[in-house]
């Protein structure tokens, strides 16, 4: 009896970890793409995820638009916001390749949005309640919450679309090239601004998806976003920066570590363990745990 329960419990923990880890994966893919061409960790990524959680919240509360349907509005809106943020705030710093300034701008965006959201929506947690919010599919004693499962599927689809975009389109190939060697890319005729803007469009577009995911699963407040950047960085350390699949897998592994450690070790230790893993991976395999190192041409 106890053994059966344990197996079920372990499976349940694994499922929880995988399902929530996919959101970390989505955040990590966005961070990785922007890092690829801009060479900065875009610290406002998580806060923008929360901004779109609020957008989803507003669309639902004010206009009665279903959260999943709101993706049709949120994704293009987020992609456009990405381009707008790059074009208005980063062009100058990127042209001078001034990464310190770029990083400061990202921090500025983060604090600005946190405080803007506090004014607009107060600091109290918000959440969305739909008929399916607490719907759980159960079989053999294992429960799969519907919203988490949908979030997971959305994350997989989004990652798949990004991979296809990067592999199959000309501009996508240019983004990959620029991530590898920006100088060589400009010698091909690729404009750094163009690829930076595309990276921002995709990265922030993904933040839109993660925001909707977030809004359907958990309550959130304006200051909840930064954790996604931290978790995204850990996911990238695990999965290796520069690969979409690696970032997603890194997020999922991180979700598993979190889920298992939150059950097996006393509360409060989970975060310490997560960042310990981060440090160990950086120490031991700074190119990423899952990366086979590519010979430099």
């Amino acid at each position: 009896m106890f053994a059966l329960l344990s197996v079920q419990l372990i499976i349940q923990l694994l499922i929880n970890g995988i399902l929530f880890g996919a959101i970390y994966g989505i955040a990590a893919i966005g961070l990785s793409l922007i890092f690829g061409t801009m060479r900065i960790i875009f610290l406002a990524q998580g806060t923008i995820i929360i901004l779109f959680a609020y957008t989803c919240f507003w669309l639902f509360n004010l206009l009665g638009i279903d959260p999943y349907l709101s993706l049709v509005i949120v994704i293009p809106m987020a992609a456009l916001l990405g381009v707008a943020i790059y074009a208005s705030l980063f062009t100058e710093a990127a042209a001078n390749e001034d990464r310190n300034i770029s990083l400061l701008i990202a921090i500025g965006i983060m604090f600005f949005l946190e405080n803007l959201m506090t004014v607009l929506w107060t600091g109290n947690p918000r959440s969305i309640t739909t008929p399916y919010t607490s719907f759980v599919v159960r079989f053999a004693g294992i429960g799969i919450p519907f919203t988490r499962f949908t979030g997971f599927i959305m994350a997989l689809l989004a990652a798949g679309v990004v991979v296809l975009f990067l592999k199959k389109t000309f501009i996508g190939t240019a983004v990959r090239a620029a991530s590898e060697d920006i100088v060589s890319a400009t010698l091909m005729g690729i404009s750094p601004h163009r690829v930076n803007a595309v990276a921002f469009a995709i990265g922030i577009g993904l933040a839109g998806i993660a925001g909707v995911d977030m809004a359907t699963i958990y309550p959130f407040d304006p200051f909840y976003g930064f954790i996604f950047v931290l978790r995204g960085m850990v996911a990238l350390a695990i999965g290796g920066i520069g690969s979409v699949e690696g970032a997603l897998l890194g997020g999922i592994i991180l979700g598993l570590i979190e889920s298992l450690s939150s059950f097996f070790v006393p509360g409060g230790w989970t975060d310490a363990i997560v960042y310990l893993v981060f440090l160990i991976v950086l120490m031991w395999r700074p190119e990423g745990l899952l990366v086979r190192s590519v010979k430099k041409a």
Partner: protein
Amino acid sequence: MENNALVVKGVDVLYGDVQALWDVSLEVKQGTIVSLVGANGAGKSTLLKTISGINRARKGEILFSGKSVTHLKPQEVVDIGISHVPEGRRLFASLTVLENLKLGAYPPRARAVFGESLTKAFDLFPVLKSRQNQKAGSLSGGEQQMLAIGRAMMSQPTILMLDEPSLGLSPILVKTMFDLVASLNKQGVTMLLVEQNVRQALKIANHAYVLKNGRIVMNGGGEELLADPEVQKAYIGERWRKK
């Protein structure tokens, strides 16, 4: 003046406070091979990077077909027909051979004739065709150099600037590389060649410049410089003199 593809006039380049080029001038006539030789750190790569827009000239002017390109960005320079194969090739290692070639044809003008250029590149380097789906990083040194040149040719350049194409290649491949430069030139591509292999570079050149400590110290016909005792002593060495 009309048959000058590229003119560099009195260019100074600084890296921070350190001056790398002093009042450098050179001319590359349409359809010729011009070699730029000199010791390590003389400023050869700096000059190519300045022409292609990676470095900025503090003073002076660079003209291409009579028009100033001094202030253009690298992506604009390749668009008007100057293609630069940088030192160390700078391939996109994690991208396939075909993807590297595709990006070579990035400027819209080149994209329009992509199929044609690709056939040409594969005719020139059949090995690239058979390896088109391999990652560029998995190619041998010689193959990588071919890919770098093939990629640069995809932009349909009027002038091709090669920085140390023979670097790190075996003696047989070095010969192949110089034969290739000559044959591309015969097909009408103007060449600006930077080389440490001074003897070969001068042999092949219609005209050549010697760069020393950031200044042009000598220039003349390729064979003429090759015969110059000072050049022989400084750059070619005893063992070549008898040949």
